[in-house]
Amino acid sequence: MSDLIAQLTQRLGTHRVLTAREDILPYGFDGTATLKQLPACVAFPRDAADVSFALKLAGVSATPVVTRGSGTGLSGGSVPLAGSLVLCLVQMNRILEVDTANLTLRAEAGVITQKIYEAADAAGLFYPPDPGSMKISTIGGNVAENSGGLRGLKYGVTRDYVMGLEVVLADGSICWLGSKCVKDVAGYNLRDLFIGSEGTLGVVTQVLLKLLPRPAARQTLLAAFPSMEAAAETVSAIIAARIIPCTLEFIDQTTLRCVEDFAKVGLPRDAAAILLIETDGHPAAVADEAAQTESLCHHHGATSVRRAANATEATQLATARRSAFSALARLRPTTILEDVTVPRSELAGMIRAIGLIAQKHALTIATFGHFGDGNLHPTILTDERDHAEMHRVELAVAEIIAATLERGGTITGEHGVGLAKKPFLRAQLGDASFELLRLVKRALDPDGRLNPGKIFD
């Protein structure tokens, strides 16, 4: 290990290799509650060659390597292992190319998602995936978790925009997967294997992203409902009416009050639930969809529907929604967030089930999420120092997961398995699929060097 640190320091310089306790302590966790572990060293590579160099050294000294972006992950993916080397990619933050002829953008993996959006926007183009953390998450982290966002319903998730990747493998070899071609079936689609691989198969060092033309118009609506069911029915009605808004977000009363305390954007505090809806596209289509959506909301019992007056107000509302998870931390010291996703037809039933589980275990569970995607974030508000309550939290989590799987759902829609969801993966996948995953891992990383212990043991 000391040899690894010495050689890394020689190559990268002392300011890119941290080992002092005060320096590395803040890399001991990510956005996930209750998980922490100190690494041995944190290094900041400048490019793929540095990453390759570090991985080869790690091979020699049998050091586990944990790749890290901004550490906003919500499943413990970038929480280090004891004695590990953390490769933090935030200094690989250059946007290398915006190709307006092919509508692509190439960037280093440490670029902040928001900067990708802005660079596309400046060229009149559009990069849709917008996770709640986009102001600070890295594009590499987005790829590694296959992150979703507020626009998933119409535009899909990160995977739908990745055309190519530069990846450094466990043995230090550097490969390009994918191309600028719209169609490309040369060999297996290994690019997709790395999307959502949570740093366990390779280190992503560059991404080639697909961009879209920027929609000409947008309209944001905020509808308040007297019950969660009414909001859920409205969502079904909107989709049944063949309207695909780009955003269809749900926030319950507990969450919306916390958000309003922080953002002060005039959310209706008395509503049992609100829907944040955005349509975009051709101005005429947007006007039409907005009008239809508004009347559907009223028809299903909305007590008020507010239209954002301008882009600033629309941004404010979206920003408020993005703060939902963090804002919930106002209520209790520990916020345990789930990421269950069910087929959309099961949403109302799933919401009811969560309510019953909360009651049964005497817990506060606030729920918000990407309703249009069937992706819910039931968030248990608790206190990690209260052991009795934490035990009830564990039971409740297991029951939420069971209720999800019963409905044909998945334990994680966008945050990944990491450490937090590891115990439930086999139950969802079944033995054969689970073993197939491990087979792939062994093939690419035979020594278990990369992010060991994440996704599965």
């Binding site: 005060e22 550490g71 935030v90 703060s323 963090s326 931390a329």
Partner: protein, 467 residues
């Protein structure tokens, strides 16, 4: 005794490490290292409370590398009380003595314990500094290259020292002034309060004006203007001639005991029960003054009074908007915003473009952001040109420009760049530290003259022009 482990653990635990504050933190942006981010600093503080880390020199340095700009508190959805965490951590650093050196201790004692606890002494020192600057000795010494004899760090500071005005607040403001009373004759910078068409409500609002320390020495004219605009809006204004330092400097620098003592003295001098509002016009002071209620919450003798004080404390802009201030009818007269050397030769402010730089402790510390703009927009003949990053720290940050000169200089340059890019002729700001930092930064950069002033100066001038 104030320490991280004694702090209510929920304050430390409040941070759920989501990272949403990172992009707003100037020191994280500079280095992209977690320990230089709010989330990282809180993690270090928590490690100390948990006994996982000792209060080390490195920890101490980290706590002082933080600007204390509180941008992270505006960004934090979870409502983390970073201000209290930082004050506690710095107090702990001071108690542990991990940064102690003879020079540092001497400077701290001289400033925190001697100078900024004795308002009369501070004024006397200010007077000497004024003599030095006004007598031409300073210019002479600079020309003769005498400054090169100073040690490097003092040499760097010397040109940053505020230009002291000829008159301090108590020479410009009478202890009690009411809309009807005659003005004190203090010459050119005195605005004629007598002829204001004042709204004069049946029972005038009684307010107390806090004059500050640096504000009192370098910007007494801003204090005068503060009184003027309050008078013009029908307030009876009480301004005790000798006021103790509010203690913000002490609290922000880990001298908790002095901060407590000074807060008590302030409460002894000004009883909140006597006033409708207590007015501060400096972002940094106001932010701390508002926290008296919390600061003294477990002092049986002062808790109630301090709570009442906090409830009545208002930033001047906030108060003016709250009482629905009267919009002036005339563009500000030909009086230049006489607020220091740079502004001396500026022309009229009619049809002037103004930009607004937000003092961190006004916008992040006190959440007062719209009101100063409302005042600027109400000025006839003034166009408000927003500059980029108006809420990004200018690097002044209390005494940060003295303790961390490199980072402070980079922030200053960035700020000056945005101010110049806005094309404004005047930049308004409401904190003496920012004011000086902008003045120095603008003077050192090339480009057209940009005047630094305080929004109430512009408002007072516009009222004066109505006569």
């Amino acid at each position: 005794m104030k320490s991280l482990s004694d702090l209510d653990y929920s304050v430390l635990q409040q941070c759920m490490h989501c990272g949403l504050c990172l992009p707003t933190c100037p020191t994280y942006e500079e280095t992209q290292r977690e320990r230089h981010s709010p989330r990282g600093r809180i993690a270090l503080m928590r490690a100390i409370a948990d006994g996982e880390l000792a209060v080390s020199q490195s920890f101490g340095e980290e706590m002082y590398y933080c600007l204390g700009c509180l941008a992270c508190t505006s960004a934090c959805p979870a409502g983390v009380n970073y201000a209290e965490l930082l004050e506690t951590a710095r107090a702990e650093v001071e108690q542990a003595g991990v940064l102690a050196s003879p020079t540092r201790s001497l400077i701290r004692t001289l400033t925190l314990r001697v100078l900024f606890t004795r308002p009369r002494l501070l004024r006397a020192v200010g007077r000497l500094l004024w003599l030095w600057q006004a007598s031409g000795l300073q210019a002479l010494a600079r020309r003769a290259g005498l400054m090169n004899l100073l040690p490097a760090n003092l040499r760097r500071l010397e040109p940053q020292a505020p230009t002291i005005l000829a008159k301090f607040s108590h020479q410009l403001i009478r202890p009690v002034e009411s809309p009807a009373s005659a003005p004190l004759n203090v010459g050119r910078s005195m605005l004629d309060v007598e002829r204001y068409p004042s709204p004069a409500p049946a029972s005038p609002r009684r307010v107390a004006v806090l004059t500050g320390c640096v504000q009192d020495l370098a910007f007494a004219n801003i204090n005068r203007a503060t009184v003027d605009v309050l008078l013009a809006n029908g307030c009876e204004v009480h301004t005790p001639p000798v006021q103790p330092c509010c203690g913000s400097l002490h609290a922000h620098n880990g001298d908790h005991a002095s901060a407590l003592a000074l807060a008590r003295r302030q409460l002894d001098l000004i009883n909140p029960a006597d006033f409708d509002a207590i007015i501060s016009n400096a972002g940094g002071c106001g932010s701390h003054l508002r926290a008296y209620g919390h600061l003294l919450h477990d002092d049986p003798a002062y808790a109630a009074k301090a709570a009442a004080w906090s409830a009545k404390l208002r930033d001047i802009h906030e108060y003016l908007v709250e009482i629905n201030f009267r919009a002036p009818t005339q563009p500000g007269g030909s009086n230049p915003p006489a607020s220091g050397a740079v502004s001396a030769a500026t022309a009229t402010i009619a049809a002037t473009t103004v930009t607004y730089h937000e003092s961190c402790h006004l916008c992040h510390g006190q959440k007062v952001s719209a009101q100063p703009r409302a005042i600027l927009r109400a000025l006839p003949g003034v166009v408000l040109n927003e500059c980029a990053e108006s809420q990004w720290c200018c690097g002044s940050a209390g005494i940060y420009n003295i303790t961390q000169p490199e980072t402070a200089a980079r922030l200053q340059e960035r700020k000056v760049g945005h101010v110049r890019a806005s094309g404004a002729q005047v930049v308004a700001t409401a904190n003496p530290g920012c004011h000086l930092q902008l003045q120095n930064g603008l003077a050192q950069s090339t480009g057209p003259v940009v005047t630094v002033t305080h929004p109430v100066i512009l408002l007072a001038q516009a009222y004066a022009a109505e006569k």
